[in-house]
């Protein structure tokens, strides 16, 4: 699980971080002083040279980091979606004014009422898989739910506090 990330200063430019994957490839990021980041991939034949250097803006780098950080879970869910037709997954952002901010997941009674399950919560780029009924929501959480169309719509309504009961 531990990955060794090496840091190299680039005087006048910024800093470079790189890591060697278990498949033997080296991937790195050159962070410029002005916020620009280059994603660099190293050559297999010549490990000193980068094969490609892709400039990313701040926002692009953050988006990529999000995708990379959450890809494992979303990949599994995508597989699930293919197996069972009619079953959907959805990411639902907890609205700022939601009645469930700082309340337990169990309080929503979402599964009982809609048939859809909350299978994960994403918070600050981290994924909390299979949260239990005692899990406490916070503002800006993103809920990953699995269920039918109407079930998911129900969860969205519950989290927003728009449901009738």
């Amino acid at each position: 699980m531990r990955v060794r990330v090496e840091q190299t200063p680039l005087p006048g430019i910024g800093v470079r971080h790189d890591l060697v994957t278990s498949s033997g490839r080296t991937v790195g990021v050159v962070s410029h002083r002005n916020g620009r980041r280059d994603l660099v991939l190293y050559d297999v034949d010549d490990p000193d040279a980068c094969l490609a250097s892709i400039p990313l803006t701040d926002d692009e780098a953050e988006a990529l980091a999000d995708v990379l950080g959450a890809s494992l879970m979303l990949g599994q869910l995508a597989g699930l979606r293919q197996q069972a037709s009619g079953l959907l997954t959805e990411q639902i952002a907890l609205p700022a004014g939601s009645p469930f901010v700082r309340r337990k997941l169990g309080d929503t009674r979402a599964r009982t009422r809609t048939g859809a399950s909350i299978v994960a919560v994403m918070r600050d780029r981290e994924v909390i898989a299979s949260p239990g009924p005692d899990f406490v929501f916070e503002a800006n959480d993103v809920v990953v739910a699995v269920g039918t169309r109407s079930g998911l719509d129900g969860v969205t309504a519950i989290l927003a506090g728009d449901d009738d009961d």
Partner: protein
């Protein structure tokens, strides 16, 4: 025509022409420095269109250009970076100095010049162009390469060495005699060390003095402080350029970042004027006789730079292709060589120095970035691969039998 009107027309036409030249250069992937030098040659004494009214303006603009080039160079580094780099890369920096300054000095003696001219030429051949090389590395997508920190640390050492070399040359060129020169030199070295210590210890406080929030105050504050320190440094015979460089190092953090953004356009403007000015002060008629020596010197010192980069990269365990990339990237000489030559021209130490330096920088700054691309070509890679494994299968059976 009125003097001021003529000045406006001349400066305007000159800057516009430079803008067009720069655009042309960029479209063919050429650094604008050689184009500006050529423009200066064309406009100067004995050139195609001599400028008359704007000479004084261009001269002042040129000295601003040097100061801005150096303060921006200083802004790129923090004092801590310089010191940590100094420890790690000192052997590479020393090698760089020996391999590249000595051929320059030897060449000057070969031409029958005196030792002062030799000292100047040593500096001209020693220092690579940080600006051109950083641009080439970025353009070729090599910022992530393993040999890049090696190249950068050689550049850092060169830049830092200039902080001591420039006052030394200034003192020598002032020709104050042995004792006077030594005294001037001592003052210079002490000043530089004192400013470096202040920059390292109190860089944060100096930066705090200038707020990063108010753009106008920041521009005026940094530019004013730079000009002031540069002027004081010049007065102490330390050279204005070094004063500006040290101010750049002293300013750090967000102030440095914003100052870099604010000063960049000013630097581009006045640096262009500086290169033109250097071209202006060279008579094109003096160029042909020094062209062949300049070419010879360029070939020799470009080879020694390749050797420098090769060995520096080898020290940190870079493979052969990377060593060659490091060496070839270090070849271009540029702004610093011209700054050094400019000092010599102002003191009139050797009349052939300016045309030689112009031709030398023109050759290296044009061919350097082109040659730096060599390792990216497929035929070059294949050639290196073959060269690394020269017919090993033929040797193996023999050793097996032994």
């Amino acid at each position: 025509m009125h003097g001021t009107t003529l000045l406006l027309i001349e400066v305007g036409a000159l800057l516009f022409a430079l803008g067009m030249l720069g655009r042309l250069g960029r479209s063919i992937g050429l650094s604008p420095i050689p184009l500006y030098l050529l423009a200066g040659l064309a406009f100067g004494h004995g050139g195609l269109v001599p400028l008359s009214a704007s000479e004084e303006f261009i001269e002042i603009g040129a000295s601003m250009g040097v100061i801005l080039l150096l303060v921006m160079l200083g802004l790129e580094y923090s004092a801590g970076e310089l010191i940590s780099n100094l420890r790690a890369a000192a052997p590479a920096g020393l090698m760089d100095a020996l391999f590249n300054a000595l051929p320059g000095a030897a060449f000057a003696f070969l031409l029958g010049w005196d030792w002062r001219a030799a000292l100047v030429l040593a500096g001209i051949t020693w220092v690579s162009s940080s600006g051109v090389i950083a641009k080439v590395l970025g353009d070729l997508g090599r910022l992530g390469n393993r040999e890049t920190p090696v190249i950068l640390s050689v550049l850092v050492i060169e830049d830092l060495a200039m902080a001591f070399y420039l006052p030394l040359v200034t003192a020598v060129l002032a020709g104050a005699g042995l004792i006077g020169g030594a005294k001037a030199l001592a003052v210079a070295v002490i000043t530089v060390l004192a400013v470096l210590v202040v920059a390292i210890r109190y860089g944060r406080q100096i930066s705090a003095l200038i707020s990063a929030r108010d753009a106008e105050a920041l521009l005026l504050g940094v530019f004013g402080l730079t000009l002031f320190v540069a002027g004081v440094a010049e007065e102490l015979n330390v050279s204005a350029a070094v004063g500006a460089f040290l101010v750049g190092i002293a300013i750090s953090g967000p102030v440095a970042h914003h100052a870099t953004e604010m000063l960049s356009p000013l630097r581009d403007l006045f640096a262009a004027v500086f290169f033109v000015f250097f071209g202006l002060s060279t008579n094109p008629a003096d160029m042909p006789p020094v062209l062949l020596p300049a070419l010879g010197l360029a070939v020799i010192t470009m080879l020694t730079k390749v050797l420098t980069g090769y060995l520096a990269a080898k020290r940190v365990g870079i493979a052969l292709p990377g060593r060659l990339r490091a060496g070839l990237a270090l070849m271009p000489r540029g702004e610093f060589s011209i700054v050094i030559a400019g000092l010599a021209v102002a003191s009139g130490v050797e009349p052939r120095l300016a045309p030689l330096a112009t031709a030398y920088v023109l050759i290296t700054v044009v061919s350097g970035p082109l040659l730096a691309r060599l390792p990216d070509y497929e035929w070059f890679k294949t050639f290196i691969r073959r060269w690394r494994q020269p017919s090993t299968p033929a040797v193996r059976p023999l050793t097996a039998e032994d």
